[in-house]
Symmetry: T
Subunit: 157 residues, 12 copies
């Protein structure tokens, strides 16, 4: 069943498809990690970071929808199931249990930094074959780098 | 680090904690499955079911937040990480690739039915030890049974 | 045609089904009576009670939808047709023609009181077999008892 | 008790009063039938028609309020009680139980068509004696004919 | 300076122009009288009627703008200056000083009744020469008759 | 394929159908001309008229939808395709290229005046056979005559 | 009937009462004059000044309500009837008929300037006896002087 | 611990501090009394006064926040604890139990009148030493005198 | 004067009445303590906790209204006057003067914990005699336990 | 009359101008075709596709405004008149009369596919000479490819 | 070119003009400094103070507009150009580069304190010659003193 | 103190940092100049251009925030202090005092044109080293070129 036709040539579709599938997994995992930290954080900055983490969740959920629907629009079936996320995510597993706020911030800087590197690679790979998909990775990178600055600034000084 | 104190006795906390952790996993997986279907559905009912699936996502996300924060409020660290979800979910794995709309509806009836049975058990288990947590499972069951009716009605007749 | 499956055992479904069907009829009739009074009231409190009656209409319409959709969700086809309402309502027939405001308030206290008694019975009957349906009757009773107080207070002193 | 004075001569008031009372009954019954179908519909178009029926409910409720208050404004006490509706409605009784979507659409086309004919007659009868009431029937007919087209289009082709 | 051209013949323009100019004056005076009463009312129904009067102000201001701009659109310069209103209004002068609520309601029934008669005459005069202007008077009459009912109902019974 | 049934007799349907189809074409062309001027206007009144033109676009688009859906509701398939508009519009072709603001205002007065004459004819033709459609032309004429006054006033004095 | 008691001594009440009654008349007349000009203005600045005049109407209506209710709150019955306005306004009568935009701007500068002088006197008179009423005149003056600047700027250069 | 520095000299700070602390207590007690009456009122004006009382609550709560934060801004720790309110309020204790509406209105006139006198004294005391704080008391007095008029008008005539 | 009738038997009404009256006092005092801390807090977490405290105020005010109106609805006159609160509150008196943020958080954990214990007792006492009132205490407990977790998390780790 | 200066060199302006003019025509025609189908569609998916078509209209209208104003901003007068659209559109003419829903979906897939190819060419042509214009075509392509997927999915499986 | 006339005498205009021009410069510089700190702050309170600084920006921008337009309204041309701000500001130059949060709070306390002293002088100078302008400085001082308290509280204890 | 790490190599960071710092200064100065003109403009187009200038202010403020936070996100401390703006802006100093509207439009065309040239250079410089930053300059250029067209159109013809 080949439901949807791509408006790109086959090789381009393949490159773009891998970048989108990878980006989808990273964004779903980022949203789960940010929620996990949102629920488990303790310490004097609890309230402020608790909300900051929901901003990341919101960014990650919104971009994951864009990325998955972009894949569909190019005839590539996206896969965002739990086992796929657990197996293929580019983010290191985070600890379970309560997290001190200072540690929570470091967790987010690490997770965001890891995803940013991979999103920049996807931006570079897709640019020559599909400017539309590249633009999606530009917007994602812009937002993630802003979040990453804000968490660095939290622990900075 | 015992960050948060429970306002319940220890045995009650243990019963309630397991019910909430189980509910959290089911709700996160339900949201991922509904999104997966939202992106992969094809067929003459595409648009209608595409939106209906996002209603499920919205319900599942909202209740998963309530459940996890209820656990935190009782001093139980919730665990909603991808690997935990992939390992402990009570919903059968869904197929990858495009899904015909009729099949998509069946997938959702199956997933919702499986979660409803488990939520009713959690409602029964927590009632005698914490009426507050029981009320959360009552609201979840109410919403999930409504969604389940709507998907059954879609394929019914 | 057995379109929708109940998640309750058969006897429970029967008890809950009768309670919901009865509640639906009472709520539809309550909405019609409140509108009837809304249009026919005269006297120095016209404007104030005219609006108060629309608050009852709004409550009754919203709960009647919840009750009917709860029945559907349990595989019980709800019946809210005019003849069914006219035949099975638990509220005494109200007079036609213009109504003096003092009389209008009494009409509403009587109608609300009659429905409250029946809703409390439904709450008691459904509680042991379905906590979800019981919760719906708890919310209905809460709202109707609040409305009933406000009309009693209007004529009180 | 002659609470409200009409700004029309007696014969005009009588003609207009009968038209408004008849219109009120039809609109209340239409709203009850649309809700009945909204709750009992099953089939592949469930979600789409379920919402479409609530648009009819909303139109019928809003216009019934306008019609009844127009009667009051002309000194004619409106009667919208359940037994009056059950006895005097111009719409044929609809079946109970679940309704297949195709059948539900036909039910609505029939109900709307029956009401439209009667509304057009009321428009013609009231025009010569009260342009204001006629305008209300013009707006009602406009909205009902639009709904009727949409249901015809659903089963059309 | 003949700034704006009418899309009607000259005799029609003259008939319509007089109706609109007369309607404008009545509506401005109605808004001033309703505000006067809004500020001076006392008695047990103060708050309820105080707000009801602002509903009349809002109706009168909105329709006076429509009427004046309709005149302009037909090339007839509207005149809504204070002295023109004071000289040509069709409403009897209201008393100064505080007004008991029962009296205030009578004042409004009288003022609204006087304007309704004149608006119905304008509706009849303009109908044969301009259906567009007639429609404006139909809407005005509809709203004023509704307000008039509500004030009659206040003192009714 | 006779998809939708008219609630009017055949001759009435034919008269009304021609009026609605003609009105649709004029309104679509009016929206295109107003947009064309919106983009090409230059001169000291640029900003003010630029916005005023979008008010016309908004009016024309909204009424064209009403007119087309009224045709559908009467079983008449509406035709609003580009070639049909280009061939049958009642508005003279406007110049291409930048337009000085004074000229732009004249263009709009001419276009609106031409359409108003035709809409008044349609109002007269449809009145005797369908009061509902007549009412739609009354509302259109009211709005267009208001826009026409405003543009005349712009160049007036 | 001495309905409302003043919280000020008698002489203060008298001074404040005259200032408020005078301010009320000027503000009502200002609102009527601004509306008169809003409807009758023609010329290349029609649209811009048409809206600017409604800003004045809005300011004048809002402040007139504050001023009249302040009078009531101090036990002084306010008088805003048409004949009172026509007789006691401090603004010179404006011309009837269409007004060229440049002239309209001058009309508003003159009207606003006349009212500002009187409002400043009321501010000075009430300050020593009631700081609350003084503050109301300060806010009025602030808003009127801002409107006056904007109309001067329109004709300035 | 001298946490916050005042921008006023010491004697001014002392005068202003006492006025603000006194104002805070009166406003909190006023909000509690208005709520007490809101819950206990009975009689034919129940609904109207029930809402009017919530307007007072809203005013009192909003101003109490402004007053307390103004104290903090001047380095004066505000004290709004229950025992402080119970001990230092300037309003006479109100009766417990249900209150007839006529009596409820008198209760509010008395409470508001008592607070207004004290707020005017605070306005006079603070004016010479801090115009900013004086302005806060001017706004409070303006709102309370408006509420007091409305309750007087309720029982007036 | 027995204004309002209870829909419960006398013994049930007595039990429920005491629980509601006690709950009302605790919630009003909680709102006053949270505001007191909101105004007096200092330290590096000032802004974050300042807002968090207003969330508690908002919760406490909203539930206190529900509780008091539930009492009224059951014919029990609620008492929320300042002296009643000061005498019967279940929360220990808080210190006056500025509060360091760490201390402020401890104050709130103590106050919330004390109220939660009492609310759970009320939930248990009312459950067997009135499920509707029990549900109100379930919702209150749910919200207070969530706030209590958030303050514990602030000082936790 | 060379009203607006381009910030690009002449050759770049020429390339960009042709791309924008072509894009404008395609988008206007797309909006007319989507509306045409919106009015003429019949069949079991009527309601769902009826709304989906309006999403396309909304996208096409919004982008056509962006494209035309971008042309103006570069000193190129845009041409969106009916005859220009009818003559230069890149979309094949659609059939008149009622359209079965399955056929309507195919019509939209064809129209969108045709426009997407041309928009991608414009994206490629403008990229080297104006990144700003290229970005506009990227956004258009992104949206159109998403719409195209949704219509393909509708008929897919 | 003397475009705008003052409603004040010449000496008053001069005093008020200097106060407004000085206030404008301070407020613009305050907005630039708050933004500078908003972008450069680092440390554990980053997020909380980052938002707090934008509250200051918002206050400063809003008041600077009021101040400048008040000057214009009195015929005094305001000067808010970058070089004027850089030369005449009353706030000491802030350091460049990243700022630790504790230091950022001190920077804002210093900047706000400096501006408050000057605004109080302007309030005193303008009071005797123009109560309207004085009121503007009262509102500015009120807001700045509140912001200053909040930053002091942040570093307090 | 090296607070924030760049996700770019050092040379790229340097190029991007200079472009962002330059862009920030230009945008802040543009916002100050547009406000200066907003306050000082006189002439027949006062109101229209007064609002148009605030649209520029809004664009400039919003983009300056994006640009500065992008710099922070790349570890480059942004500098937007008044003296930096005064010294390094790329826009020529504007005249002080009242400005005739025609001159004001020319001022804005000059200022916008100067900034557009520099923004296009920054777009070209950053593109090869950071597509994310390039995209920010593309959006800025798009908006500024649209504003520049609108001001050119104002004086055009």
């Amino acid at each position: 069943m080949h439901a949807i036709k791509s408006s790109l040539p086959d090789t381009a579709t393949k490159i773009v498809g891998e970048a989108l599938q990878g980006g989808l997994i990273d964004l779903i995992d980022l949203s789960l990690i940010a929620k996990q930290t949102h629920w488990n954080i303790v310490g004097p900055r609890f309230r402020s970071i608790h909300f900051q983490l929901d901003d990341v969740v919101s960014t990650a959920r919104s971009h994951s929808d864009t990325v998955a629907e972009r894949a569909s629009a190019l005839g590539i079936s996206p896969d965002g199931r739990a086992t796929t996320v657990a197996t293929h995510t580019g983010i290191a597993k985070v600890a379970d249990g309560w997290q001190q706020d200072t540690q929570a911030v470091r967790t987010m800087v690490d997770a965001l930094s890891a995803v940013i590197v991979r999103m920049r690679e996807r931006m570079d790979e897709t640019g020559p074959v599909d400017r539309v998909t590249e633009d999606i990775f530009i917007q994602i990178t812009k937002d993630l780098e802003k979040h990453c600055w804000m968490f660095q600034a939290e622990n900075g000084g």
